[in-house]
């Protein structure tokens, strides 16, 4: 379970997150939506300890993770994986090396086991045969798939997706959405997705958090978003063609 209490973050005079409070239950699939530059990705980076809040608390599995040392944070990060917006693949490694890296770091598997697990992760995301390709040879959709394969390879409890469908065509978007759904259901993960895509929200998630001006303006199931009274939420739905 992830629990956020009074999370506050600012950069200079700009307040990004203003005393956020919410919790995410195990095996829930939650989408965080909102306008660009509103702090969704920043919120995600707080959950994995890549950023520290100015104040407030972040609890993962009932353990407070802010202000932990690097080694203490490592134990938490073993349970959380993140899929970055543009894949963030290591460009000096090929696909199989990228996917194997978390296994090498986080498990005691032999080299043979690591290779088997990495290949299985690639099969799960539909990329068998791409093991020896370099990131520069991959399309945008393939990069995202490799990013997902790398994230699931070490069997995390939580998976965080930062705009997994940004920059993809509708067919690829549909395919990535199905992949996220499949992984969520099969691996029994807790998934948190930062997105702009209402299709992702509607097809994949159980719950939506709408972030605006540093606070959560809607927290509930996707289907009930349309009944929300908040102007910004309704404007977002209207502009995204969902209303």
């Amino acid at each position: 379970m992830i629990k956020i209490k009074n999370l506050y973050k600012s950069f200079g005079d700009k307040e990004i997150l203003r005393n956020l409070n919410f919790s995410i239950e195990n095996e829930e699939c939650v989408s965080i939506i909102g306008k660009s530059g509103i702090g969704k990705s920043i919120l995600l980076k707080h959950l994995i300890g890549l950023m520290e809040p100015d104040s407030g608390e972040i609890h993962v599995n009932n353990k407070l993770i802010n202000n932990l040392t690097f080694k203490e944070l490592q134990k938490i990060r073993n349970k959380i994986s993140m899929v970055f917006q543009f894949g963030a693949l290591f460009d000096f490694m090929n696909v199989i090396e990228n996917v194997s890296l978390p296994l090498k770091k986080l498990t005691d598997f032999s080299n043979k086991e690591i290779e088997e697990y990495a290949k299985k992760s690639l099969i799960d995301v539909g990329l068998e045969g791409a093991e020896l390709m370099m990131p520069s040879e991959l399309s945008g959709g393939m990069k995202k798939r490799v990013g997902i394969a790398r994230a699931i390879s070490a069997k995390p409890e939580y998976i965080l997706y930062d705009e997994p469908t940004t920059g993809l065509d509708p067919i690829m978007t549909h395919s990535i959405n199905n992949l996220i759904k499949k992984i969520h259901n099969e691996e029994k993960l807790t998934s948190i997705i930062v997105t702009h895509e209402m299709k992702t929200v509607l097809n994949v998630s159980d719950r939506v958090l709408f972030l605006d001006e540093g606070i959560i303006k809607y927290d509930g199931p996707p289907s009930k978003m349309y009944n929300c009274k908040d102007k910004t939420v309704l404007e977002f739905l209207e502009v995204s063609g969902s209303l």
Binding site: Q74, F90, P102
Partner: protein
């Protein structure tokens, strides 16, 4: 008007902040040396990149800078000494000593460091800076890697190991260039005289050691500035370009400053 008064304070604050970040990064990089076993393959990769792959350019630049030194020394000797012919042979031997000292103390360490600033400093900043803006460093951290141990410490260790070695290679080829150019451009000077002159210099080994010590400091300065600018790159592709330029300029200034300080201390 407000900005006019605010500017010096902002500048002072950014300098202090930058120095704080730089020294803290260096401190954690040196602390990360204890993780060397885990990162041995990265250290070896960097040894190949910084050391072995830089050999051709170091050989080329040292050879030609030695040749220029040789040619200039004989030119000066030729035009303004006015030494009587019966003493010429004796005096010519000093040429080997003069050229040798210039190469070992100054030319080889300085030219190697400046060339390595362009080749290695710029590459390190561009690599690490690109990893920063494409979130690869965040991705490393998210899978429990310490990016300082994984990316920065191996580069600093490799440069500390390989710079002295590159300086020694530069010394050898610088002296060779000096020998070839001076003997071919000034007929009375022979290779035997040149080597006699080198042997006359009783500080030859000491000069070589001073050059190698300079190389160690230059290597550390170049790599640490390059890693720092890469690690804290922001602002997309433009940011990487700016950081790379800063690395080259700051490294060149540091080399010249360090050269003077080390010469004052060691000579």
């Amino acid at each position: 008007m407000i900005n006019f008064f605010k500017y010096p304070f902002d500048l002072f604050y950014s300098i202090v902040e930058g120095l704080g970040k730089f020294f803290s990064l260096i401190f954690f990089s040196l602390k990360a040396i204890s993780d060397w076993r885990e990162n041995l393959s990265n250290i070896l990769d960097q040894i190949i990149i910084i050391g072995l792959k830089s050999l051709p350019i170091v050989i080329f630049t040292s050879l030609f800078s030695g040749m220029v030194a040789g040619m200039q020394a004989t030119y000066q000797f030729d035009i303004d000494t006015g030494i009587p012919t019966n003493l010429l042979g004796q005096t010519l031997r000093y040429l080997g000593s003069v050229i040798g000292t210039s190469v070992l103390l100054e030319l080889s360490p300085m030219v190697t460091a400046l060339v390595m600033t362009g080749k290695i400093g710029a590459t390190i900043t561009a690599e690490i800076g690109t990893m920063r803006i494409t979130e690869q460093i965040d991705a490393l951290e998210s899978i429990s890697f310490n990016p300082i141990s994984y990316l920065i410490m191996p580069r600093i260790i490799a440069s500390l190991i390989m710079f002295p070695y590159l300086i020694i290679v530069g010394d050898i080829f610088g002296l060779l260039g000096g020998l070839v150019a001076s003997t071919s451009s000034y007929e009375p000077l022979t290779a035997t005289m040149f080597f006699d002159g080198l042997k006359m210099n009783t500080n030859l080994v000491n000069d070589c050691v001073v050059g190698v010590i300079k190389g160690l400091f230059f290597g550390f300065a170049i790599t640490s500035i390059a890693c720092y600018k890469g690690y804290y790159t922001e602002g997309g592709a433009e940011g990487v370009g700016k950081a790379t330029t800063y690395t080259v300029v700051a490294s060149c200034i540091s080399i010249v400053l360090l050269d003077y300080i080390l010469a004052a201390i060691l000579l």
